[in-house]
Symmetry: C2
Subunit: 424 residues, 2 copies
């Protein structure tokens, strides 16, 4: 059952426990139970804490937190990154969903907030939250990813940082709200409308242009995130949700949708998301967060504790639909084995992949590579760099290219079990 | 397109927005946009709040909270109930997952906590959290429901309370952990073992007997809840998860699994979950939380604001697999229409159902009824009461029967739009 370099293939999982048990025979990380009775721990001998009206994690989990780029809220952008190495499954809990906020999170009174839809419509309308609550709703699990997520991987030398620092600007949640197309059928659409401008109620009035094709496809006015109202940092009380598209376009604190003939060339589409390619052309109006994966366990900071069995696990996702396959290598891409995909595999959502691995204690390089149902393969880092260029700066990354990195990530493991970021 | 009493059937949803828009033409709950420019709200004119390391809901959502039966933590059971009428979708956010705690939530140090598996095994073993982290994991979305959820509906007269008070002891999350069968293959199983006793590390050392068939089927040692470690009230750092089975058996703060020949007849299985039926026999060792549904919107406390379009929405679930169909009535069960089911429809998980409704402003009685893929139909209240009896007490409900109510719930709407709980 063991394959190259200790990798245990997907069939071991599909066959179930017997195969796994065989692989773990002689596992040194489990203690035999002693014959004496089980001792009581101190917390079993006293009453516990009172159940709160709103639950929060244990005090022992205080390091499971977003890392903040601007913890004092100085007048510049704030990033809060998701600690993927400390999470499991596919849902990002609301407290840990990534946030990018350009002037802090506005403190919006939902009873006073309004959404206006106007411009090239037949009947401009203003929607209160109460009015939106009466429309048919839809729910879908989908990821949101910042276009700048993984930007450190454009640097010439691999930056030593955790998966949180490198890939923490993507998260996945169940969102519920009203389809934008439902509201646009209420307003009517002037056939001249080809784009819409979505504007937020944050201080910079962040605005982005969105093609009407996406608006009429799967765009949603999201009101709920994993069952409860949106978090303040994720757009409370409403945001535009464009499944699979660049995070910045999923305008938070949404207050206006204006239908127009041509894009507005707003700040983010004219500057931040218009990097110059090696060819000299601007890479503008690319919207999809294309097929990508990364390994979350093991990863830097999670050292292996001696040889033997481990599970290699991570997330894969694509704006082009479902993940069809994830391959994992433990030898830097020479040989690959197919990972198990956790069901259900949903379109434009995190898919958790898992691969059993029997580490022999020697050096290894872990990689994952994903494919989507549209036939797209996650590129190697070399392929991405050939297309987009490479930054010269080692952090902070200030130079282009810095957007839409979806290449392979490599984790090296040394003989002591330490994990580092490498290019391989 | 309109059917009996304003119900709009599932086909209206499947046809999409055009049909809905037709139903909403002339909606009086949307304002026309004025010609003048959009005014800036005060929160758009100042910097917002700093992004926190762990996000919490907006201060305007403070009433979206669990209701507590014992908020001072007196020495008796504490219940925290999920506010289903204020939630949407299928995932219950971790802060709002229901909790029942018999002596508060123990403050467990995860580095010191141990899980022992012993009894009729070949090799008794002790597992640390670090050791469990090395085993293959699985994720699944599943509901957990207290056997006593919905007990107020056994009372002779309908109790006027919210859906949170009546049905708030069920929630649904994505759980990740290690299959119990994986660990039992490590310990080996003596063929004489037919049951296991699961014991928690809370002060009462809550214990329940579980058949080995469930242990080897889909039982999990759950470590993560919606991506992050379990909440303290939901069993941190580990719990037994028995998808679809009575909540109390999903032993929280799990510290021991002992394989045995026969059930232990512990407190909960000998007393609480052994009610006497009208036939005089004890109703004991019934484990499944059978097919059930209830409407969350509209529901008591969420008054309708004038005639016109509303979405009727709720959750359905079954321990016997996927929900196959949900029917909704607006006239107290005389006529039924098929609700739309939100995809993906997962086994033993919440399924959100939705039905468009054009309220004519007159009296109505809303009901939902679910079927599962095993062919089970949610019973009427009359059917349940005929089998199990009816309590004489109006709250507090102290008399049997009080367990495993899965009958239909009815909400009456009067001419003013007020919603009350009725038997119909």
């Amino acid at each position: 059952m063991e394959t190259m370099n200790g990798r245990l293939d997907r069939r071991a999982f599909l066959r179930g426990g017997a195969a796994m048990a065989a692989a773990m025979t002689g596992a040194t990380f489990v203690e035999s139970a002693a014959a004496e009775p089980l001792a009581d721990d101190p917390w079993s001998l006293v009453p516990g804490t009172t159940v709160p009206a709103y639950g929060v994690p244990s005090r022992f989990e205080k390091n499971v937190a977003r890392t903040l780029s601007n913890p004092q809220g100085e007048p510049r952008t704030q990033h809060g990154r998701t600690p993927h190495h400390l999470l499991q499954g596919t849902i990002t809990p609301n407290g840990l969903h990534f946030v990018i906020s350009h002037a802090g999170d506005p403190d919006i009174d939902p009873d006073k907030h309004r959404l206006v839809i106007h411009g090239l419509v037949k009947r401009p309308l203003v929607f209160t939250l109460d009015a939106l609550a009466r429309y048919p709703m839809v729910s879908r699990v989908t990821f949101v990813e910042c276009g700048g997520n993984s930007a450190p991987l454009f640097s010439k030398a691999p930056i030593q940082a955790s998966v949180q620092a490198l890939h923490g600007l993507v998260s996945c949640a169940e969102w519920t709200g009203v389809r934008l197309s439902t509201l646009l059928e209420e307003t009517g659409i002037d056939p001249k409308a080809k784009w819409l401008i979505a504007e937020g109620a944050d201080a910079p009035a962040l605005s982005r242009s969105v093609p009407m094709t996406k608006a009429m496809d799967d765009a949603m006015i999201a009101l709920y995130q994993n069952g409860e109202r949106l978090m303040p940092g994720n757009g409370y009380p409403m945001r535009l949700l464009l499944p699979g598209w660049e995070g910045n376009m999923n305008v938070k604190w949404l207050r206006r949708i204006k239908l127009v003939e041509a894009p507005a060339m707003s700040y983010y589409e004219a500057r931040t998301y218009a990097p110059i390619l090696p060819s000299g052309q601007a890479y503008q109006f690319y919207f999809l967060q294309e097929v990508k994966s990364f390994i979350t366990q093991p990863s830097p900071g999670l050292a292996l504790k001696g040889p033997g069995f481990y599970e290699i696990s991570g997330v894969a996702y694509s704006a082009n639909g479902r993940i069809s396959k994830v391959m994992v290598s433990t030898d830097g891409g020479q040989r690959w084995g197919q990972a198990a995909l956790q069901a259900p595999v949903l379109s434009k959502a995190f898919t958790r992949f898992r691969m059993a691995w029997n580490w022999n204690g020697g050096p290894a390089i872990l990689q994952s590579r994903a494919w989507d149902e549209a036939g797209n393969a996650q590129p190697t880092r070399a392929q991405i760099v050939a297309q987009r260029g490479e930054t010269k700066a080692v952090p902070p990354v200030t130079a282009f290219p810095s957007q839409h990195y979806n290449g392979i990530t490599s984790w090296a493991i040394d003989g002591k079990g330490e994990v580092t970021h490498v290019y391989a």
